[in-house]
Every structure is written in structure tokens, then in C-alpha cells.
């Protein structure tokens, strides 16, 4: 094989049929606003933790919806709960409560 110094990106396909949405439903019960997110990214732009740990509420919501719990949890561990994201969210989502709810429902060990 030739070494080009780069590789083709691995497939990013997600088979939603294999994703267990039970926890997300629970999350939706605790914080119904999670469906309001329009992925505008305002929260990520303002997040002070994003600079250090790549935290982004937008990505967390998307990842959880797509069953990519591991990535979401990795990001969440960097959140400082400062509340900037909830101040800027144009949809008025209580992101801090969302984050705390995720921290209660999802697990970090069983990945």
C-alpha cells in the first residue's frame, strides 16, 4: 500500500436503528425543551469550557440524539455550569438544567 500521509476518513454513518433512545426519552421528560434546540451554535460560541475541552451544548444534544453517548459524556465532563449558554440561547432553553439532567440520566462508565 502506498503511504500518502493521510487516510480516507472513517465512515461516520450512524445506524439509528441500533440506537437505544430510552434515555433520550427520559431526558425529554425531564427537560422537554431539548427538542427546541435548533442547533444554532450560539451556546458553543460563548462557552468558556469550549476553549479547553471542546464542550458544546449543541453537539451534546445532537450526539445524544444520534446515540453517540461517549462523545457527549466526554464533552460534558468539561462543563463548568457557568450558565453563559443559557443566557445566549435564542430558543430560551434552560441549558444548565439540561446538562444536569443528562448528568443524572446517562452513565460515564458503561460505554
Amino acid at each position: 500500500m502506498m503511504n500518502f500521509g493521510f487516510k480516507i476518513a472513517p465512515s461516520a454513518t450512524i445506524n439509528l436503528d441500533n440506537v437505544d433512545m430510552e434515555k433520550f426519552t427520559l431526558l425529554h421528560e425531564m427537560e422537554p425543551d431539548v427538542y427546541k434546540c435548533m442547533a444554532c451554535g450560539s451556546c458553543s460560541a460563548t462557552c468558556p469550557a469550549g476553549r479547553f475541552t471542546g464542550m458544546s451544548v449543541r453537539k451534546v444534544i445532537l450526539d445524544l440524539q444520534r446515540g453517540r453517548e461517549k462523545e457527549a459524556v466526554r464533552m460534558l465532563k468539561g462543563c463548568m455550569l457557568c450558565g453563559k449558554c443559557s443566557m445566549v440561547c435564542p430558543r430560551g432553553i434552560n441549558t444548565r438544567h439540561l446538562i444536569l439532567s443528562v448528568c443524572r440520566i446517562y452513565n460515564e462508565d458503561k460505554q
Binding site: T53, G92, L100
Partner: protein, 599 residues
Amino acid sequence: MIGMIFILTWCTVGMIRIIANLPKDDRKRFFLSLVNPKIMLKNIRDIFCDCLFHVKLWKRNRLLGYMHSSIAFGWFMLIVIGHIEVFFYAPHRAKLLYFPIFFRYFMAEDDSTMGGAFFFFLMDFFLLVVLSGIALAIVKRVHSRFFGMRRTTNPSFMDLVGLYSLWSIFPLRLFAEGFTADISGGSFLTESLNHVFHAFLGNHMNMLPTWWAYSLALGIFFCALPFTRYMHIPTEILLIPLRNAGVRIRHPRKGYAEAEVYACPSCGVCIDACPMGVMKTHIKDTTVYLNRQLRRHNETRIEEISDKCLLCGKCTAVCPVGVEGDRLRIAQRSARKYNISPDYSCIDTDILKKEASFRAPASGKVLYFAGCMTALTPQIRKSVESVLTRCGTDYEFMDRDGGICCGRPMLMAGRFDAAEEMIAKNTDIILGSGADTLLLSCPICYRIFRENYNLGKMRIVHHTEYFAELIGSGTIGMLHGSDRYVFHDPCELGRGCGIYDEPRAVLSAAGELVEAEKHHRESICCGGSLGSLTLGFGKRQAMTENALHNLTAASPDSIVTACPLCLSTFHRYADRPVMDIAEVVDRNMIPADSNDIDD
């Protein structure tokens, strides 16, 4: 009698339990304080002022104060004088606890001696005082507005049992003593009642049932007491020495927290105080109901109530017994289990340290930490920087490109370990910079820096204090304009850190200062607080509007605050300009050394 024994054992067991549940060092502190004469004196004074005279309630509303103190002090005096009486007339029985209460039943005395008449008069007088208090209490149930309270507590079933038995004790006592007044002596009240009774009830057969009814009411009251709000009477006596000993809430349910919960008499002062109260749906989430649910161990409601609160601290500020509604809630939150816990080990403090480091000697210099919230209100940051540059202060910006959060929002959510981690990282950066002064713009940061950080000799100031000093020392002069300003005391700066005078001094230098309807310790939270975990944006609007309404009572030209969060919250709904105090200073300042001005 049964009631008496029951309540005494209950109180002793309860007291031992609370003291046993205190952490070791707190317990030691408590016992040491009991032998310290200075604290002991303070204990006695506080017990008298708070439990008997209800001084704090007097300050709030005279009628309310009179109602509470007449019942408490009147009853206390009845007991004391009753004992003295017994001591005089039947010293051999003075040890029996129940004897003074039923003294008039057992004894047949007359007021032939001067002393006798005097005691009888006192007894009747205080009985009248108590009765007037109870009459007021009945009026208050129906018309709480007379007492300066818009709302009063909704009593639970057991509270009602206690309430009615308490209400009936004293009228029954009056009747009972009235019946026996000609046998055992009485004074203006009981004697005259006795004559009335004699007018249509000739004999003494009626005296037995009334004495029975009296003792029954007393017995019911004491038996029901542990399950009602009246448990506050014995608990408050324990709470005061504990507080004076410096004991604080360490555990959500045990020890000091338990003492606070049981010391709450459900007076309901905190209901009107709470900013959430503007919406009817939140009235049951005020501190008095938190205490009730904690007594009932209703976990679902406890969680709901604790999470909704804005942690503005107003209930704590107004509470006459010193229940700390905000700390109590943080403690409840801290008991929660999370499956994902934060981990900030990947945050590289070296970059931040480099950003915060000074050129050449750092001593005497100012490190400015704007904080997360200030990043969303750049006008504050710009004004502070402009003032600092124009008066030639050598400063460095600690979080120009965003830094680590101070940790207070995390602490408010009850996640202490994560907050500690942030505190450690920030401490490292700040101490590494070598500056002497840490300047802050956000009261939320300011509070945690004062309470939870250990920065050695470094001075921690909020920009209001810093500017007040600059103006006071003449480093900067202020152009006195004709604008009317009202100052909004941010919760964390005012009630949290006790800074009230500095911002007012600054504003008086810049223009005319007017006060809001409720100010200083009673200022109303803007509604934007990070303390609430569950309140969404939609539910906060009514609170913000209410706070604005309060601020504009004296129709000021502009509203001035000193907190970035208040600023952006008020901006949303205000009908007139809202500014930070730094903007006012920046706009009106005249540097003493005018060479420094570049425009």
C-alpha cells in the same frame, strides 16, 4: 400532665440527637461556646430578644410584633409569676412542674396581703396581654394585610390542631380562673368575671368542667407540639446558642440544618419576601414550605422546591429566627447523585498563567478577572478597562479570551467537588501572577472569592469598591450631573457580601441618587439568577418586571446596577436605560492628573 412529660422527653431526645449529629469540631465549638461568658451573654440576650420579644418582627410591623411577643412574653411571664406565687404560698410543692399551672385550682388564697393582690394583678394583666395577642392572631388568620403581610402561611392539619388548642388554652384559663376567683383569689379580670358568672350561675359546680377543659387544651397542645410548627418554641432556644457558637449547615438534613427546620414557626414572612411569589404557582416553593416538607420528608417536593429557588437570599435576610433558606437548599442539592462528574484535568493552566502574568515586577499591580458573565456584557469590561487606563493603573486582564469559571454557579448547584477543582485551578493562576489586588466585575465571582478562596494576603475587590476608593482618595474626580439614578443592589453583592454604601457613594458623586421602594437588604432579585436550576426564561419575566417596577418607584432617569447578570436581565424588559456602575464612572470621570486624558 401527660403532655408535659411527653414534651420534655421529646425535646431532650431531639436536642441530644441534633447535637450528636453535628460534626465533631462543630460540637466542640458549641460546648466551648457554652462556657464562654461573652457568647453566653449574647445567647441570653438573643433568646430574650428573639424568642420572647420578637424584636425583629417589631421592626417589620408593630402589630405583628405585638401579636407574637404578647403571646410569647405574656405566657412566659404567666409561668414565671405562677412559679413565684407557688414559691411564696406553697414552697414545699414548688418542685412539681404542673403545680403552678393549676395553682388556682389547688389553692385557696385571698388577696388580704399586699403581695397577694400584686401577684394576682400581674397574673391577670399578663393573661390579658396573651388574650389580646390571641385575638390579634385570629384577626390575622382572616385579614393578614393589617399586619403588613400580603399572604400568610397555609397551615397543615396538625398545625391547625396546635393552633386551635393554643387559641383555646387562654380563654379557658380565663374562665376557669374566673370561676374560682372568689375561692382562690383573683384580680380585675378574673374577679369581675366571677361576678358575672355568679349573676346567672350560682354555684361552683361549673368550675370543674372549665378546669378540665383548660387542662385538656393544654395537654392536647403539648402532645401535638412536636408535630406542629409550635416545635419552634423549644428548638429556637437551641438554635440561638448553636448559631452564636459559629456552627453552620454541613449536612442537608442533620445537625444545624435540622435545628433550623424545626425552629421555623411558619410565620410566613418569607412568603411575601420571595421574588418568586409574584407568580401564584410558586408560592408553595417558598422557604416556609421547604421547612414543612423537610419535616415531612417528602422527597419529591423537597427536590422541586430546592431546585426552583433563585438563591437570592432574601428569605434569609428577613427571617426572624434565622432560617437560611438559600443555604438549606444548596445543602439539599448537594445530596443529589450524578452519574457523570466533571473533570477539568485537561484544562491547561499554563496558557492561562502566561496570559495573566505581568511584565517586570508584579507587586502593587492589579489583576482584573472579568468573569464569564461579564464576557456577555462587554460594556462593563470596556468601561472598567477605560477607567483603569485613564487613571494610569498598571493592570493585567486574567481572562481576556475566557478563563475558568469562578465555581460559584457549580457550588450553587450543590456540586462541591467540581467547584473545588475550579477553585484550585484559579487559585494557582492568580497566585502565580504575583499581583496584590484582584479586581472583579461580577458579584457572583466576588462572593465565592471572598468565601471559598484562600488567596493569602491578596486583596479582593469588586469594581464598585475600587471606584469608590478612587473617588474618595481624589485619584479621580466626578462630574456631578443632573441625572437621577436608582441603584439596584445585586443579591450577591448586597445580601451576599454586604456592599451597600460604596455604590451609593459613587452614584451620589455622579448625580442624584434616589432609592427604590425596597432596597439594601430587601432589594428584589432581578430574576436572572443562576441559583435556580429549573426556572426557564419564560417563567422569569414576571419576576424581572416586578423588580423593575420596584426600582422605578421614584421615577429615576436610569437604573444602575453592579452585576453583569442583572444588567442583561433588566435590559430585556426595562423601559429606561440600564447601566453598570462602571459605565457611569467611565462617563463622568475627570482624572485628577489631566495629562493622562488622551481625548
